[in-house]
């Protein structure tokens, strides 16, 4: 039962850039329908893991098992068609197209073995835009909408692909606190309603803590801690990685 519940297994995954070990023998599981927080200071390897798992970068070693199949040597479009996809830290809208057309591309392509004729793809794109609250902007060119709307658009585009696992790479970056609140409610709701597994990469600690079922902390490309949000915030290793040794000692003395 426990084994069936795991959808994605990352086994001893490494990615080296020359002598730099950007990701160093990282292993973790993603369970069906969970929100897994992936945190760590800048340069700890979060985005590199996303790039390797989704096929944008070749691995150095290790395995990525998605639904029982090793996907680590597949191309990004093949991985996306299996239902494993991502958003980008820096938004990548399809310029020269409208909001609706952007979402429609996700709906037309995306996961395979589903209905992707034009009529049902348009229907799905419209439903997805409504879900994230973009229906009023559907005919806007993507160069004419604000950053929060671009992030919503990118999220809608990914949802229209109907994936099973999504890596959300800093989707909250550049949003104000009210927008962050709105976005986290949306992410939480979608994960519950659709049984979507989300790997949530974020800097804003408060958001990660409130949204995640489990958290993995990376530091210098290595996994240092894995646990529930409560376990992670109180872990001296995490505090040291984020704030330095002095704070870790103080936290220990207080605790």
């Amino acid at each position: 039962m426990e084994a069936n519940n795991v959808i994605l297994t990352i086994g001893s995954l490494s990615k080296y850039f020359g002598a730099l070990k950007a990701v160093d023998k990282v292993s973790f599981d993603v369970k069906r329908g969970e929100i897994l927080g992936l945190i760590g200071p800048n340069g700890s390897g979060k985005t590199t893991i996303t790039n390797v798992v989704t096929g944008a970068l070749p691995k150095t070693s290790g395995t990525v098992i998605f639904e029982g199949v090793d996907t680590s040597s597949l191309k990004p479009y093949q991985i996306a068609r299996k239902g494993l996809t991502r958003t980008f830290q820096v938004v990548k809208p399809l310029l020269g197209m409208t909001v609706e057309e952007n979402v429609l591309v996700g709906s037309l392509y995306g996961r395979d073995k589903r209905n992707t004729d034009m009529a049902s793809a348009i229907k799905r794109a419209r439903e997805t835009m409504e879900l994230v609250g973009l229906e009023g902007k559907k005919d806007f060119s993507v160069s004419d909408i604000t950053l929060p709307d671009l992030k919503k658009m990118e999220f809608a585009r990914v949802l229209a692909m109907e994936p099973k696992v999504v890596f959300l790479d800093e989707v909250m970056g550049g949003l104000n606190p009210a927008e962050v609140e709105e976005a986290s409610i949306l992410v939480r709701r979608l994960s519950r309603e659709r049984g979507l597994s989300i790997v949530f990469i974020e800097h804003i600690m408060k958001v990660v803590m409130s949204i995640s079922d489990r958290i993995i902390v990376l530091h210098h490309g290595k996994k240092i801690v894995e646990g529930t949000p409560q376990e992670v915030v109180n872990d001296p290793i995490v505090i040291e990685a984020y704030l330095g040794k002095r704070y870790a000692k103080e936290a220990n003395n207080e605790g």
């Binding site: 989704t54 944008a56 191309k75 990004p76 479009y77 996306a80 068609r81 996809t85 991502r86 980008f88 990548k92 809208p93 399809l94 310029l95 020269g96 197209m97 057309e101 429609l104 591309v105 996700g106 037309l108 392509y109 995306g110 996961r111 395979d112 992707t116 034009m118 793809a121 585009r157 692909m161």
Partner: protein, 319 residues
């Protein structure tokens, strides 16, 4: 939106009827000139699909024109009828584009353009130096057995049909799922591939469609001229001219290549008759002026104007 669509449809219908009736009252010179314009519009449409919609500028697309012309010439000299030689030419060009496409289209953007120039030069060298093509001197093509005046009409309508077919194909391709894939590649290849789009496949198929129409134009050209030479049909300037045509008409619009072909050819023709010594300079300056003031091309500018007016109207309504 609906109103401007109806208007476009009506204008297209009038234009179709006009061009169908034109050979009845126009001079032989005009008919020949416009046949050439149709031909350039077809080649420009092939470039438009690759560049205007997909963002890959195929600088060496004249190779398909040359292949189309030469396979037709060789086939007909070996005794095939034109209607057998022409599809053979198209199939050869498409196979060529697929083989080289899967290799070259892994290169991104400008590197692809440069590689196509390389292929273009290499193929010219091969054709100039082989026996079967007749070498650098060129080769003749069996003459069409019709009276001269009927011949003009024949190639006029054939080229016109090819142009309409190429526009219709591009229109249908762009409306389809495949077309959204192409446009995504132009917009952001990384995002496209992350959404499940097999970019190499899309690019290769688009180039094959481009090769199909360009080679058919070459096939008709060979039969029309009844004599072809390598330096003429493999001339890189054919592609360069058609890139200019695409830019002036409006890259990424279905009718842009036709509008561009008429503007460029008519300006070139009048510049040539009015300024025989420096017609190329006049043509060059005209192109620069047009691109300076309407960078999106003529149809791009009209499209922007229509959008702007609609936006103004909806704002008036909502206020």
């Amino acid at each position: 939106m609906l109103k401007s669509k109806k208007l476009t449809g009506l204008l297209l219908l009038i234009a179709m009827i006009f061009f169908i009736l034109l050979p009845r009252f126009a001079s032989g010179y005009s008919v020949r000139l416009i046949t050439g314009i149709f031909m350039y519009a077809v080649i420009a449409q092939g470039i438009n699909l690759m560049s205007g919609y997909m963002g890959y500028l195929p600088f060496g697309n004249a190779i398909f024109f040359g292949i189309g012309a030469y396979i037709t010439a060789i086939g007909m000299n070996k005794g095939l009828s034109f209607f057998l030689a022409m599809p053979l030419a198209a199939i050869t060009a498409m196979l060529f584009s697929l083989v080289f496409g899967f290799m070259l289209l892994r290169l991104r953007g400008h590197y692809f353009s440069i590689a196509t120039i390389g292929i273009s030069a290499a193929l010219l060298g091969v054709v100039q130096n082989s026996e079967i093509t007749g070498g650098a001197m060129g080769t003749t093509v069996p003459l069409i057995t019709l009276s001269p005046s009927v011949t003009y009409g024949y190639f006029y309508y054939a080229m016109f049909a090819l142009m309409v077919l190429s526009c219709l194909t591009v229109y249908l391709v762009i409306k389809s799922k495949f077309g959204f894939g192409l446009r995504s590649i132009k917009a952001n290849q990384e995002a496209a591939t992350s959404m499940g789009i097999n970019t190499t496949y899309h690019k290769a198929v688009a180039w094959a469609i481009s090769a199909l129409f360009t080679s058919l134009a070459g096939a008709l050209y060979a039969y029309w001229m009844s004599f072809i030479a390598p330096a003429e049909v493999f001339d890189i300037m054919i592609a360069v001219k058609c890139i200019v045509i695409m830019l002036i008409g409006g890259a990424g619009t279905v009718l842009g290549p036709i509008v561009g072909a008429f503007v460029v050819e008519l300006v070139a023709e009048s510049a040539w008759s009015a300024f025989p010594e420096y017609h190329l300079a006049v043509l060059g300056i005209t192109i620069i002026v047009i691109l300076f003031f309407v960078p999106k091309g003529i149809l791009g500018a009209i499209g922007d104007f229509v959008k702007w007016r609609e936006l103004r109207l909806t704002r008036k309504v909502s206020v």
